[in-house]
Symmetry: C2
Subunit: 563 residues, 2 copies
């Protein structure tokens, strides 16, 4: 037995208090959908009567790590739950070697052996020539894949079992078409086929538990992780990924810019139960030692293939920032703040050429379609301050993203659209309305937005306000912001604070939209609160640990202690 | 010299980084309005050019404590800046003794000497017989008081000097009539006369720096403090009050329920530069040892007079919870959660009588008018969970509050209306619309509202989302919520977190409404951020300490590090 490459000591695993992992079977496919079931204690009335409270099933992003029957082994990676489903479609080939030059080079480098994930010996999958393997393509063919049935069951959180047992406010959903009672596999298929939903499912990431991003589904959140030139090891990044999904991250983006990006990503993907996104431009830039002028389509293309074959589920691509948009950024207070946007603008100005991500967009889509990598169209011109919100630069780029959406759809590539950033409250609805219009209802994925700029240290909150509102209006996924935003790199505690803050914002939006069953957890919490079932309040809380720690046992048991 | 009764050691005073206290003179009256001026460093361009950045004047709730020329002395209390203004109106009398029995009893009790604020030797003021001394009355007479001119200058934050120097988003203000360029003293008078604004100014609290609460002014926030049977001393409560106003509390409510409530309040009022509110019912209940049945109009009345003569600026009075409303609470998930509401409901059920606060409301108003104490009509039936939001009980009480608003106005008593609590996002606008309608535009004062119930430990955030939204729609003041809400009693750190969180929510609303100059601080921050003037970013931050502490000096100086 060889020495282990990675320590599991820092990992937080195991079930949440009074919760157990349950698995619900599919009706169409042989699938087992994981939920978390929170067990509640009985209600005891002052007359001595006892009433049982049904367990509450909640959406569970944490993967096998919270299943006590699962033996965590980072070196082996997570179970490949999608492996069979992918193979049975009979439209893929197993490659004989990695297709990217960079991937081959790293594999051949013996000095990297001690960093390498061992089970990488399996060769990547790719669509057979002439076949398309995206969930979007399948949906357009009328096929309900196991992934689609999985997300239908997952979104329902078993609410069908208790739907009649509590009062629910009517939602207001700004033209979204939220299902009235429950999500069916057919509904999932139709939403994907309409381009209104994205099911991230790279055929090389069979470990992922299927999830869906779309405005007629539960609002999702993303947590950014990734090393930097100054900090952290592979171990820490894997630890951060497991930590983020434990608290509720629906996807993670690996934004590494430090050493051994390729190997770090392999470890993350193999151990991530949620889809993984990246910004391939960041790694491409590392390959030319940060020298923007030296970036080229060839290097970028090789990076796309390298990452697609590792199993990255979606790529942020800043293809909508065009030559014609740059002049409109000159009068801005904060110029171009998107990292991808500023890299591409610099490249364009140096070479006096149009954005190569735009000129090569068809080729990009061909690559992505062969692995079912989704494209997240980056907003390189997102405002970096509320002063710059909703300006010509931002909305000019949004129109270009709409054009690219159509191109991607023509190739059956799944698309989502990135949005701001910094927007005062009165400008939020305009962002959503224009995005729906220009991008033909492709899912919107925003970073907050921050609703004021005067509270550094609290930007998880300034942005949760904007995030909850824009999600209510239709944004499908929110990228989290941590308390360190604008100030420093987040540590583990910041990651948790960011995730919980965004989870509550997303949930507030689910409730406001009237998603079936979204209000049940609130109802169960309020009932437990009114009945002073403290243990149940902790179990139902998004963050049981903090609630327990803050609980002051000297508080008298009086109803009026709650607001 | 006697031994000092109170230590000042725990007090945090002194100016904020790179800030100085400035005083702006009135045009009509001989007044000096305090602002905080934040000095900024120069902009240095890459070409070596240097541009000065004008200082930024911001609203300052901190009182003399942040003036380095002021020698803090808690035993002496704050300077009585309003003393002359009050006397010059020649409509008040100095009483020969305290009017309340309880006040006299406490004063006569030698055992309390060591707790007593010494300068209480000055006797209270009261309106001369037949005279009315409320700011509302003056406004209705067409008078512009020094208090009114003070708040006009204060609200402007000297924005007139820089108004043309930056771009500003157009606000959206839902029917509010925000002044376009600046607030004039005439505008303040007219808003008060219309009942749309409340200027808290008990004639026995001459230490208060005038401020205004109304939807056509900056959104204000309140911080609750107060001891409890299990915790804290007079010292700690004064310390908490000074701490809360340092970070931005526009008013404080003393909700003490522990020992020596009378003496604690005296110390707080004498040392508070912001208006102080209370819930007199809490103290009345202490006087009958918590025995609700024993509460009576006589005890309550004596408490009102006792507190009015100490200088409390507004009272929360739960007079709108009527006998007829109680049945509609039975089917609620969380019943009656307002402490005042549950006390009165219990009293009514025990005595089978209508709420004595309702039946004696005219007498209450007569007492309040004689000192210019404002009434904050309590929402005893506010929802304690999103499940109970916007129900018949809540809106039934709101109608009664509208009726009481008119009664108070008939006596020239200033009125604000308390609101929820817990409301899902889609229900927020309805709350605001009905409040404006039923209560004829009297200022709305809400507690959050929380937009979801599933995040105990993070309820400052779940409620800041609702708070920012309802303030945008027209709520004039937000009562803060701390991270300990529903779990325990807030400590100093929680108070600060609550205040900063609500300050940013209120500011986000000011920006969204388009209040003149509200966006300037954001603009200055964004410019400093883009130019990597870190020191200026800290100075401009709502919480410079936390921003500085989070700042990671290893971060490279790159534009794209901001979102």
């Amino acid at each position: 037995m060889t020495k282990s490459k990675i320590s599991q000591e820092g990992l937080t695993t195991g079930p949440f208090p009074n919760s157990k992992k349950i698995y619900e079977s599919g009706q169409i496919h042989n699938i087992k959908v994981a939920h978390r079931s929170i067990e509640l204690s009985d209600t005891k009335t002052s007359e001595g009567e006892i009433f049982q409270n049904p367990p509450v099933t909640v959406y569970d992003t944490s993967g096998p790590y919270t299943d006590p029957d699962y033996a965590v082994n980072l070196e082996k990676g997570l179970p490949k739950i999608r492996e069979q489903w992918i193979k049975e479609r009979d439209d893929i080939q197993e490659l004989e070697q990695l297709s990217s030059e960079y991937g081959q080079m790293r594999l051949a480098d013996k000095k990297l052996d001690h960093l390498r994930f061992d089970h990488v010996s399996t060769m990547p999958l790719k669509a057979k020539d002439g076949r398309c393997v995206t969930q979007y393509y399948y949906a357009c063919q009328g096929i309900i894949t196991p992934e689609m049935e999985y997300v239908a069951i997952r979104e329902n959180q078993q609410i069908q079992q208790i739907q009649e047992s509590y009062r629910e406010h009517r939602g207001q959903c700004y033209g979204a078409q939220i299902p009235e009672k429950e999500v069916t596999p057919e509904f999932v298929r139709d939403e994907i086929a309409a381009g209104r939903a994205f099911l991230p499912a790279n055929i090389n990431h069979p470990e992922t538990e299927p999830m869906i991003i779309g405005r007629n589904f539960l609002v999702k959140i993303n947590a950014n992780i990734g090393n930097s030139p100054t900090t952290s090891s592979i171990e820490e990044e894997v630890e951060k990924a497991v930590w983020a999904v434990r608290w509720g991250a629906d996807t993670i983006m690996d934004l590494s810019t430090g050493d051994n990006i390729h190997e770090t990503r392999e470890w993350i993907v193999r151990n991530s139960p949620v889809p993984v996104g990246t910004v391939p431009l960041y790694q491409a830039l590392e390959k030319v030692n940060g020298d923007v002028e030296k970036l080229s389509w060839e290097i970028y293309r090789d990076t796309l293939i390298e990452q697609a074959e590792q199993g990255v589920d979606y790529f942020t691509i800043h293809a909508g920032l065009l030559w014609k948009h740059i002049p409109s950024t000159i009068k801005r207070v904060t110029g171009i703040v998107s990292r991808g946007g500023s890299i591409m603008a610099k490249w364009m100005l140096y070479h006096h050429k149009e954005n190569f991500l735009y000129t090569h967009f068809d080729e990009i889509c061909d690559i992505l379609a062969a692995y079912d990598v989704g494209v997240s169209l980056g907003d390189g011109l997102r405002p970096g301050s509320i002063a710059d919100a909703n300006d010509r630069a931002q909305f000019g780029e949004l129109e270009a993203l709409g054009e690219l959406t159509q191109k991607a759809r023509d190739k059956y590539v799944q698309v989502i659209i990135e949005g701001p950033g910094h927007v005062p409250m009165q400008g939020i609805k305009e962002n959503m309305d224009l995005q729906l219009e220009h991008c033909k209802e492709a899912p919107f994925y925003t970073l907050g937005p921050l609703t004021t700029d005067i509270a550094p240290g609290y930007d998880h909150i300034t942005s949760a306000i904007g995030g909850a509102m824009i999600a209510w209006h239709g944004t499908a996924m929110l990228c989290y912001v941590t308390p360190k935003e604008h100030l420093g790199l987040p540590d583990k505690h910041d990651v948790k604070t960011g995730v919980i803050t965004y989870k509550l914002a997303a949930h507030a939006a689910d409730v406001a939209k009237g998603f079936p069953g979204a209000q049940f957890r609130d109802f169960a919490m309020s009932k437990a609160r009114f009945e002073f079932r403290w243990k149940d309040q902790f179990s139902l809380a998004l963050d049981p640990e903090t609630a327990m720690q803050y609980h002051d046992k000297t508080l008298p048991d009086e109803g009026y202690k709650s607001s």
